[in-house]
């Protein structure tokens, strides 16, 4: 059998981010496929060992570019666990707002990314302009569009600005009213459905074999496996939300879950705004101490539910001014590397981009 080799990425329109999928193809069926990561490698784990605990706050958002806040959260959670630090109540709620907005923004980007493989660019344009409005809100809250460096050790960097509540509420109402439009353009659009239904399947057994988490897992296992529910951090145990699930994991049902999660995130943010307590937002180290801040010895793993699944920091401290070892568990690591190697073969080259898109493969967090 003669094979042909095709490359999906790094500079291929079907590939988001700088990674390369090597496809060995017969006709149009993929026979073997591998992900070639590493194009975005920056030696993060080494860099973080060489920077102070506080300095690291500026570095970590860059681990996962589409959704940087989860990095800040995981880092803050891990460090606070090592420090045994209690965060002010208000900070928890603000953090949740940021995280949920980040989730919406990542989902909108991924959902708009459906425009690439299926060719429905109108969907992409619509999704991106809504995402851009979220970035504007981020800018108002934290001062930056992408890398906020807002969730810091001991709380959040500063309080919410005046009048942001109304703005957030207005935006949420606007987005909520348009969710049906997104469904009509995307996953309920007959021509798109014809293409994405029953493609890029993820059977339940595979989930455990790969260690896939997040939407992939929830859509295949039909169980609400979400860290926010199972092991709540921040104040997720005090808000009401559902974890959308499904018993059939094809490209369409995963996208369906994404849209449903956007709805849930909207609900969470509304509850946060309602229940927001007053008070301090940050435990500040005493003046002049931040550079000499030491953290007690210990090992800790801090998971956060990202838009793609379980995202965690494994941190080891030996009591010094810098972390001794930081390991980053990228949420898309299993489906990106082993998933592409084992479960892409047998599908068609048309669908390869859909796997990258709907499983949420984020190359910077694989490479780090």
């Amino acid at each position: 059998m003669k094979e042909m080799k095709l490359f999906l990425g790094p500079q291929h329109p079907g590939m988001h981010g700088n990674a390369s999928v090597h496809l060995f193809v017969d006709g149009d069926i993929i026979k073997r496929s591998y992900l070639l990561p590493g194009m975005l490698h920056r030696g993060f784990e080494k860099q973080m060992e060489r920077k102070l605990w506080v300095n690291n706050i500026a570095l970590i958002p860059r681990v996962c570019v589409p959704e940087p806040d989860i990095n800040e959260m995981a880092f803050a959670l891990a460090t606070e666990k090592l420090l045994k630090l209690d965060v002010p109540e208000r900070a928890h709620w603000i953090r949740m707002i940021m995280l949920e907005f980040a989730r919406i923004s990542a989902h909108l980007m991924a959902y708009g990314g459906l425009g690439g493989p299926t060719g429905n660019y109108t969907l992409m344009y619509h999704a991106h302009i809504d995402r851009n409005l979220i970035l504007d809100i981020f800018e108002k809250i934290s001062g930056a569009r992408i890398y906020h460096q807002y969730i810091v050790i001991g709380g959040v960097r500063k309080d919410l600005p005046e009048g942001i509540d109304e703005e957030i509420n207005a935006y949420l109402n606007d987005l909520e009213s348009r969710l049906n439009e997104y469904r009509d353009l995307g996953i309920d659009n007959p021509s798109v459905v014809k293409r994405i239904k029953d493609t890029i399947m993820l059977p339940e057994a595979v989930v455990w074999e790969l260690g896939v988490t997040g939407i992939g897992m929830r859509s295949a296992t039909n169980k609400p496996y979400d860290i926010r529910k199972v092991m709540p951090y921040a104040r997720y145990n005090q808000v009401e939300f559902e974890v959308p699930i499904s018993d059939y994991s094809d490209a369409r049902s995963r996208l369906d879950i994404k849209i449903k999660e956007v709805q849930q995130s909207i609900n969470i943010i509304r509850q946060c705004l309602d229940k927001m307590p007053e008070g301090e937002v940050r435990v500040k180290p005493s003046r002049g101490q931040s550079m000499r801040w030491t953290v007690p010895k210990g090992y800790v793993y801090a998971p956060v539910e990202s838009s793609r699944g379980e995202f965690g920091y494994y941190m080891v401290s030996n009591g010094g001014t810098t972390p001794w070892r930081v390991g980053v568990r990228g949420a898309s690591y299993p489906q990106g590397l082993l998933g592409i190697e084992k479960y892409l073969p047998g599908t068609r080259i048309d669908d390869a981009a859909l796997w990258v898109d709907t499983m949420g493969i984020c190359s910077p967090e694989i490479d780090r």
Partner: protein, 301 residues
């Protein structure tokens, strides 16, 4: 004869300018659909002239020759195209089959050149383009068979005159099923979504165009514009009764192209075998039904 050829060349040139402008305007319309401002209406001209001014790469003589052959074939096709029922370069010789087969020259030239680049993406794109052609052409030709059989002439101007004559309605209404098939096939011909499988940037990196840059790509853009001009004009002449004056033609042309474009932009694209299946299911059935009831039973609205 010389005069006719010059008229033909000017028709081809007119078609290029027309389609490029309308394409630009359409980009603006689509921009509005996508909540943005859209480019300048003459952006397509700038793009083409920019490409022509660049220094490209070449993969050997067949890479260049294919492009020349494709563009030449398409220009030749456009030279036969009547604009109105009286304005055409070669009277009586605007036979429908000339368009179908000379268009194929363009397709073949482009396919040859793309394969000559030695890039598998290009070959896949060519494969998809040819397969799509197999899909839309048969239903379309059956509808045209009906039209030619009814009007008794395969010359485009004669078909136009037949539709314009008193008592005969335009074929889009007279043959409702056939009209629908014709429009769907037009979408396929124009490479609009959901039948845009052979460009598909996210799957096969723009398919046949993958290796082109500079003047070859510029020539292919010209080719593309003239091809669209031919295909849309064919639809206007065959199904919309052609035009008696140039403004009517422009109006119908604009409407047809814009509607196709708008439909295209809220759809995703099919996979290639879905395209084939789609065309051989409903459109072919409708075309055959239409042909039988129109030819054997004589039921024409």
């Amino acid at each position: 004869m010389i005069l006719s050829i010059f008229i033909g060349i000017s028709i081809a040139l007119f078609g290029f300018v027309l389609q490029t402008s309308i394409g630009g305007i359409n980009r603006k319309i689509i921009g509005r659909l996508q909540k943005r401002h859209g480019p300048r209406w003459y952006q397509e001209f700038i793009d083409i002239f920019k490409l022509l001014s660049k220094r490209s790469v070449s993969h050997g003589w067949i890479f260049d020759f294919g492009v020349i052959m494709a563009l030449g074939g398409i220009i030749a096709t456009a030279m036969f195209m009547p604009l109105t029922s009286t304005f055409l370069a070669f009277e009586n010789y605007d036979n429908f089959f000339i368009f179908v087969y000379l268009l194929a020259v363009g397709m073949l030239g482009m396919a040859m050149s793309a394969s000559g680049s030695g890039n598998p993406w290009a070959s896949i794109g060519v494969m998809r383009a040819l397969t799509t052609m197999l899909a839309y052409e048969v239903p379309f030709l059956i509808v045209v068979l009906t039209i030619v059989n009814l009007s008794g002439n395969s010359s485009l101007t004669e078909i136009m005159l037949y539709q314009q004559a008193a008592g005969n309605n335009i074929f889009l209404i007279a043959l409702p099923l056939g009209g629908i098939v014709g429009f769907i096939a037009l979408m396929g011909m124009l490479g609009k979504k959901p039948f845009e499988t052979y460009i598909a940037p996210a799957e096969i990196a723009s398919g046949p165009m993958v290796e082109y840059g500079g003047k070859q790509l510029g020539m292919l853009f010209i080719l593309h514009e003239i091809t669209i001009f031919i295909e849309v004009s064919l639809f206007v002449h065959l199904f919309l009764g052609g035009a008696t004056n140039i403004f009517e033609f422009l109006f119908k042309y604009f409407i047809v192209y814009t509607v196709a474009n708008l439909i295209s932009n809220v759809n995703g694209r099919f996979k290639i075998d879905q395209v084939v299946k789609f065309f051989y299911k409903w459109p072919l059935l409708m075309a055959v039904t239409q042909a039988i009831i129109a030819i054997y039973f004589g039921w024409v609205i």
